[in-house]
Symmetry: C2
Subunit: 203 residues, 2 copies
């Protein structure tokens, strides 16, 4: 599942480039993934190519989109309208293809009422009431870490079953709630680790 | 290395809570990681606790910070000052503890000259010249995907050896360059996959 979004993006690039048939070899070479791995990944989800022909690109894009659940539309709430929340609201607010921002919350009176497309930022204390009236499939959590667990509790209590967590808070306390973590700082840490390990050799 | 940043964050929380000694059991319970795994991870990097006592918290924080390379300061360039680039520039511009934003680039005349702290956004066509005068350790790549490979090529050519890639571009063509990927959209895809797999059962 880590690789599947990369497959899809590369297939879109092939499609844009006018390619009609794609082999696991081609896909593998462009992504530095072994072709056997690609065939294994796809066949795991019941997607098979033809020997010496590979896959028809439209068929394969359609199949991978279905695997990723991208044949549905998901209603999204952005919870926390700081800089990252704002970036995500605009990113998903402007396409509304698969992920459609329908609610935005923040505590800051200075941003409450601000609009992203047709969606206005609403006060955090109306979270429960608004989610009851307009349920969402995914909540994007971008509040300060100190309040992250408390806000996540409220989201789950209000019926949210999938949280995209941009805070460093550990949200594994819930049953039957899908959590995906995107702690942006951790990537910097990992680079730092690799650079610091390299420096002594370089010097 | 996936777990190490999580260990550190939890250790900071313990420290804030006034805890002085921490066992692998405590750390494991709070993160839902097995204590044997934690001891294994730490001992891999030469960090050992005492039986029935565990680790002194300051010692362990210091050790994990060193593992993560956080005993150094890293010079950072933000390349692409869109919404995400802006969020990251402000995030790292305001602390400048381990990661210090020293250069920001964009092509848009409307944002060139804008300041984040003491750092001004400079035109992308001065990338090579500015990096030669003021080298950085990490470039954060947040340009549009269509130009991502081209800009990454220029960064590597200019001597950058670590790229934090926020674009969907595949940057595995370089030798001796550390690449960390943070494709924010992929987390949404993974949630979508899980939700879509759950729906048939729910309905």
């Amino acid at each position: 599942m880590e690789r599947m979004p990369r497959y899809l993006m590369q297939l879109y690039r092939f499609k844009t480039a006018g390619i009609e048939q794609v082999s696991s070899q081609m896909l593998g070479d462009s992504l530095r993934v072994k072709d056997t791995q690609i065939r294994k990944d796809l066949s795991y989800f019941g997607v098979f190519g033809k020997a010496r022909y590979g896959y028809n690109i439209d068929f394969l894009i359609d199949a991978v989109e279905k695997i990723l659940g991208l044949n549905h539309q998901y209603r999204v709430a952005i919870v926390g309208f700081g800089r990252i929340g704002r970036a995500l609201a605009h990113y998903h607010g402007s396409d509304c293809h698969n992920f459609c921002v329908q609610l935005i919350f923040d505590t800051d009176p200075a941003v409450i009422g601000e609009a992203v497309g047709a969606v206005r930022v609403e006060p955090m204390d109306q979270l429960e009431q608004r989610l009851a009236a307009q349920p969402v499939d995914i909540a994007v959590l971008t509040v300060p870490e100190e309040v992250a667990v408390e806000v996540a509790d409220r989201l789950v209590q209000a019926g949210v079953r999938a949280i995209y967590n941009f805070t460093a808070a550990e949200l594994h306390r819930y049953r039957d709630v899908f959590i995906e973590n995107a702690q942006i700082a951790y990537g910097m840490f990992k680079l730092a680790h690799r650079i610091a390990g390299y420096w002594p050799r370089k010097r």
